[in-house]
């Protein structure tokens, strides 16, 4: 009886996919990821193939999205740049989630640690993201690893804060006290009774961080403090194209659109996840 009642309720996936915008966003980000992953199958050119004679050719049959100042195919570079930009976003989202969960749980559960950790988190949140990232990259040096480290440091407080707040709420709930009263160890309570109950806000926030990190990487590269300029990312492509804005605006248009579409898609997916995971909103959809 109760079991059949359960199956009547729409599953999480059904609720998520009930929104057309989420389906489109999933399609868009899926296509972008697919194209980046299989870049070498999807383009006739090599990444570093130069053809000075054909520099700054507008989009056409040979160069679908035109060629840049060195005669490199923009479409090819866009695909390979996608590999880097997307992986930076994904890795930053993963690392900052892991660190944020650890810091947030410790701060939320052990109030002595909270005094220290929260002040650090507050101080970091008070700093503009991009400035903090620039300062960190300047200190660490501009490489892909350092960008990932810097952005992870920048976004860890966002997750930490959410986890800390959720910990505060959940640790006071009766089932956590009941678990303690029945001899469950602290780490088991942290993982099974606290963390398991805050998976959804973390997932939603991690999706947003994926998007923010891609955007920040593009910003850093555009400002010239990002990855090595020889490494193609959507940000470095815009930075290079900037110099030819008057003759070849398509140079920044393609990577600009790629960033916009990816970030927008991730944000829509994040919103969709949040609503689908919230049982009160999910019922209305």
């Amino acid at each position: 009886m109760a079991a059949t009642a359960m199956t009547d309720e729409p599953s999480f996936l059904t609720t998520l996919l009930a929104r057309r915008s989420v389906v489109i966003a999933l399609g868009a980000i899926g296509t972008i990821i697919f194209m980046a992953l299989f870049a070498n199958w999807l383009t006739p050119y090599e990444l570093a193939e130069i053809s000075i004679r054909n520099r700054l050719t507008p989009p056409g049959t040979n160069w679908w999205l035109g060629s840049d100042s060195l005669g490199r195919d923009v479409y090819t570079r866009l695909l390979y740049a996608g590999q880097i930009s997307l992986s930076i976003g994904l890795v930053v989202a993963l690392i900052s989630s892991l660190c944020g969960i650890l810091i947030g749980l410790l701060a939320g559960y052990f109030s002595k640690l909270d005094a220290v950790l929260s002040r650090v988190i507050d101080a970091m949140m008070a700093f503009p993201d991009i400035l903090l990232a620039i300062a960190l990259v300047a200190a660490l040096g501009g490489s892909m690893i350092n960008i990932i480290i810097a952005l992870s440091i920048v976004y860890t407080p966002r997750i930490a804060r959410i986890v800390r707040a959720s910990t505060f709420v959940i640790r006071e709930l009766a089932y956590v006290e009941a678990a303690r009263a029945l001899g469950v160890s602290t780490w088991r309570i942290l993982i099974f009774h606290l963390l398991r109950n805050m998976v959804s806000p973390i997932m939603v926030q991690a999706t947003f961080i994926f998007a923010y990190a891609m955007l920040s990487e593009a910003g850093l590269s555009f400002l010239g403090v990002g990855v090595d300029p020889s490494t193609p990312t959507w940000g470095t492509m815009i930075n290079e194209g900037r110099q030819y804005l008057d003759q070849a605006s398509y140079l920044i248009l393609a990577p600009g659109l790629a960033i916009t579409v990816s970030v927008l898609a991730l944000q829509i997916i994040g919103d969709g996840l949040r609503d689908a995971l919230d049982p009160r909103i999910a019922k209305e959809l």
Binding site: A174, Y175, E177, A181, L182, G183
Partner: protein, 336 residues
């Protein structure tokens, strides 16, 4: 107290909370014993220190709370006497669940919504025994049958939200009892349930108590439940016990004005004292703030029999070998 072997002896227990204006004592100089297979009911209104007492025994006082003195001697399964106030966190963890278990007032929120009830009951076995998955599952189903959950085997994978409040409290009881603890602390386990379910749960607890020869510390403010469950009653007021007696004695001859007030405020309780006009009576005022305790008898300001002598401190006196009262005027003729 009784003829059974004492398994929990609390003496001089003091527990306090740190606050900005210094520390306040929530439990003052508490003494009681519980014998194996017996039920001691700890009765009192909200804020009287009942729950703090149970948390102090379990070593689960909130961060600001601490034990300021006294001892909680527990006789464990191997017959050793251990002072629960002196155990470290790891030792207490082994005692909780296995030796002493606890059930709470809120069956609706005492279960983790993300785990099936089978997994949650099984967690106890996972933590405290070496049984494998299949053996654990068999044992959990056996326990679910013992707490009278119908179609136990098919309920194993149900989630808490699929069960009613009464069923959830049965699950909590199954969780608490699966390791056959020697002492169960029940903190108002039936308060949130409706009356018919309440009776079933109390029946179940009594039956399991008999089967396991388990002692129960039953915390409640409901005198009706006390009459049904308890062997002995300790009435708490403002952090101390004001009257303690075997249950029949207490209902027949309540001696402290506060106990009398509690009994007069129960509707329709038969065979116990009523006020002269047969109306329900409320006790005027409310329990004193912990940081503003009155001088002498803490019940003084609310007591109809208050005299100037009540302003100096008062000790427990025996009116009968098993009946102890903390009231200066006990035995006086003039007194209500």
């Amino acid at each position: 107290m009784s003829d059974s072997e004492v398994i929990l002896a609390i003496s001089g227990l003091q527990s306090a909370f740190k606050s900005r204006s210094g520390s306040v004592r929530a439990v003052r100089n508490l003494n009681f014993n519980i014998g194996a297979g017996k039920t001691l009911a700890l009765v009192g209104e909200s804020g009287s220190g009942k729950s703090v007492t149970s948390l102090a025994i379990m070593g689960l006082l909130p961060q600001a709370g601490y034990i300021a003195g006294g001892s909680v001697i527990y006789k464990n399964r191997s017959g050793e006497l251990i002072d629960l106030t002196q155990q470290n966190a790891a030792q207490m963890r082994k005692i909780r669940g296995r030796e002493i278990a606890m059930i709470f007032q809120e069956p609706m929120t005492s279960l983790n919504p993300l785990f099936s009830i089978g997994d949650q009951i099984g967690e106890m076995l996972l933590l405290h025994t070496d049984l494998n998955t299949a053996a654990r599952q068999a044992k959990v189903i056996e326990m679910l049958e013992l707490v009278e959950i119908p179609a136990a085997a098919s309920r194993f994978h149900d989630y808490p939200h699929e069960l009613s409040g009464g069923m959830r409290q049965r699950v909590m009881i199954a969780m608490a009892m699966i390791l056959k603890p020697a002492l169960l602390i029940a903190d108002e386990p039936t308060t949130a349930l409706d009356v018919t379910i309440q009776a079933q749960i109390l029946d179940l607890m009594r039956r399991l108590q008999k089967e396991l020869n388990m002692a129960i510390l039953f915390i409640t403010h409901d005198m009706g439940v006390v009459a049904e469950m308890a062997d002995e009653v300790a009435v708490m007021y403002a952090g101390e016990i004001v009257e303690q007696a075997p249950v029949q004695q207490l209902f027949k001859n309540p001696s402290h004005p506060y106990t009398q007030g509690l009994l007069k405020s129960i509707p329709g309780a038969s065979g116990i004292i009523r006020s002269e006009d047969g109306k329900l009576q409320a006790i005027p005022g409310s329990i004193p703030m912990l940081n503003a305790m009155p001088e002498g008898c803490s019940f003084g300001p609310r007591c109809a029999s208050f005299t100037s002598g009540c302003e100096s401190s008062v000790e427990m006196k025996a009116t009968d070998p098993l009946h102890w009262v903390r009231c200066r005027r006990t035995g006086e003729n003039a007194y209500v």
